[in-house]
């Protein structure tokens, strides 16, 4: 059994596009998805009101607390829907880079290792050698991989099993397969899996947007996604990345920060000092170690307050790598504080898929760039380097201006 997403066969591709653009169906799905959590919110709030009418409010406190927690949880569900909807609509900013698909696969797979192990799932990588690099949006490819891996892990519950990720060349195209040994997809379901809001996951577990987002990503790059599945045996998703992905030239949006600077020219006088602000234990350690191996000096802070204190204490931080989600402060607030204290410091934001919005806010507040986690280390390094160069140039400019001022005064 096979169902094709976007494809070389035009009649199928067109049919699909028509289905996706069926606004009425889309709106109905959206209304239903949002109405369910809303119904719970309304009843939970009503229940608190009911309880408040009682004489003895004290014994009702625990009930009220539970209802309030429910309200927060269900509102969170609504938020997740709207976030997914946003990435469905915009498919997350698609800056394109020369992407090494294998490295991207390795990075994303690594972030899933813990969850896989706890579910008794083995992830096998079979990465073809000598794959040509492609001009792609790493963010989009990451999102595609994350969605496919999430689904594969869900399909392997509760017994565990295998996920195999394969990359290979076929002619000029690059193929990516994600195969699981899970429950499989019945034929009548397979026909609809790329439709927005279609989900077979239990209430509150899936928004039904993951695969339609994958579909959109594949279509955006001029490729395709299709599925092969056998009930009880497993499912394989095939992604085809064409020789020349669509939008190579035009996908690059107006950059929010101005010049694309080349790191050639300015040689650093002293090692670049990077302040890494993140409270995700494993991540901080790994990144710090890997940056140090490349002769960067790394300071670590695990909260917004600590970051501000560190910056003030050290005084010579060049680049801050700042996760927008911190335990104590909002990422944009931290950014503002850092920039206020050290206007020349360049800040690279790290965000999760669900916090891309605050990263974009950060760009407006003067961040140098933002990267979506999990991000390729090479990309992070390159952006740190560029940020450091930009800061050095700025400092030089200021020095020159000062010199000019002094010489003018003398004259």
């Amino acid at each position: 059994m096979e169902a094709t997403g976007a494809g070389p066969r035009p009649e199928q591709g067109e049919g699909r596009r028509l289905e996706l653009s069926s606004l009425a169906d889309f709106a109905a799905g959206l209304a239903h998805e949002i109405n369910n959590p809303l119904a719970v919110i309304i009843e939970a709030a009503g229940w608190v009101e009911d309880l408040l009418e009682d004489e003895e409010t004290k014994s009702n406190l625990e009930e009220m607390r539970r209802s309030l927690r429910q309200i927060a949880t269900q509102a969170g569900r609504c938020k997740e829907i709207t976030h997914n909807l946003l990435s469905f609509a915009r498919r997350v900013p698609g800056r394109v880079y020369d992407v090494d698909l294998n490295e991207l696969v390795r990075e994303v797979a690594a972030t899933f290792e813990k969850r896989a192990a706890s579910q008794k799932v083995v992830i096998g990588l079979h990465l073809g050698e000598g794959l040509p690099r492609r001009r792609l949006s790493p963010t989009a490819i990451q999102q595609l991989l994350v969605n496919l891996l999430n689904n594969a892990l869900d399909a392997l519950e509760p017994g565990g099993g295998r996920i195999d990720i394969t990359t290979r060349r076929e002619g000029g195209d690059v193929l990516l397969d994600v195969a699981d040994t899970g429950t499989g997809i019945p034929q009548e379901v397979a026909a609809r899996i790329f439709d927005p809001f279609f989900t077979t996951k239990p209430v509150g577990k899936g928004t039904g947007l993951g695969l339609s987002i994958c579909f959109g990503i594949a279509e955006d790059m001029g490729g395709s996604i299709s599925v092969d599945s056998q009930v009880g045996r497993g499912t394989t998703f095939h992604v085809r990345i064409p020789e020349r992905p669509a939008g190579e030239g035009d996908l690059e949006p107006a950059r929010l920060h101005s010049e694309e600077e080349d790191s050639d020219g300015i040689v650093p006088r002293s090692p670049t000092v990077v302040l890494l602000v993140d409270n995700e234990e494993g991540f901080v350690e790994t990144v710090a170690k890997r940056l140090e191996r490349r002769s960067l000096m790394v300071l670590v802070a695990r909260s917004g307050q600590e970051a501000i204190a560190r910056l003030e204490a050290h005084g010579a931080v060049d680049v801050v790598v700042l996760d927008v989600k911190l335990p104590d402060m909002d990422g944009t607030e931290v950014l503002k504080e850092l920039k206020r204290r050290a206007p020349l410091v360049e800040v690279i934001l790290l965000s999760g898929h669900s916090t891309v919005e605050s990263a974009i806010d950060g760009m407006r507040l003067g961040a140098f760039d933002y990267l979506v986690k999990p991000c390729e280390l090479r990309l992070l390094l390159r952006q740190i380097d560029k940020a450091r160069v930009k800061k050095a140039r700025q400092e030089e400019r200021i020095m020159e201006a000062r010199l000019k001022e002094i010489t003018m005064r003398r004259a």
């Binding site: 009425a24 709106a27 109905a28 799905g29 209304a31 239903h32 109405n35 369910n36 809303l38 119904a39 719970v40 309304i42 009843e43 939970a44 009503g46 229940w47 009911d50 209802s67 429910q70 269900q74 239990p202 209430v203």
Partner: protein
């Protein structure tokens, strides 16, 4: 109004349980079920006056469940809960003998009034029994 018995059938556990609490507080006797099969099992064992049935659930579809309930227990009244986009399902349900349909998210008072109406209708149809107050 007498105390009467209502079965809530919905797979949204949180919603169903909150609704159950709120209706219990309004002196109704409430049972709950998570899907059509569970509802049918419960109906076979317990006398129920009105069923509130979410038409969108996993397993048996809402209309099939309704048909099954009406076949086995014609006297039970069924109120359907539907999404805005499911008016066709709602209409099909009415043809199958549902008492009424309400749109989700539903106003509690509106639901309560319709439940009382449904119960009243059931009592009238049954005739006899206890006199209406």
């Amino acid at each position: 109004m007498d105390e009467f018995t209502v079965l809530l059938v919905d797979d949204e556990i949180e919603f169903r349980d909150l609704l159950a609490k709120r209706l219990s507080k309004r002196k109704l006797k409430i049972f709950t079920a998570g899907d059509a099969a569970e509802a049918l099992r419960l109906l076979a064992a317990t006398p129920v006056d009105v069923v509130v049935l979410d038409v969108r659930m996993p397993g048996m579809s809402g209309t099939d469940a309704l048909r099954e309930i009406k076949k086995r227990l014609p006297a039970v009244e069924v109120l359907m809960l539907t999404g805005h986009a499911q008016l066709d399902v709602a209409l099909a349900g009415m043809e199958l003998g549902a008492f009424d349909y309400l749109l989700k998210p539903v106003d509690l008072d509106a639901l309560l009034y319709r439940l009382q109406d449904a119960y009243r209708k059931k009592r009238l149809r049954e005739g006899g029994g206890q006199p209406l107050r």
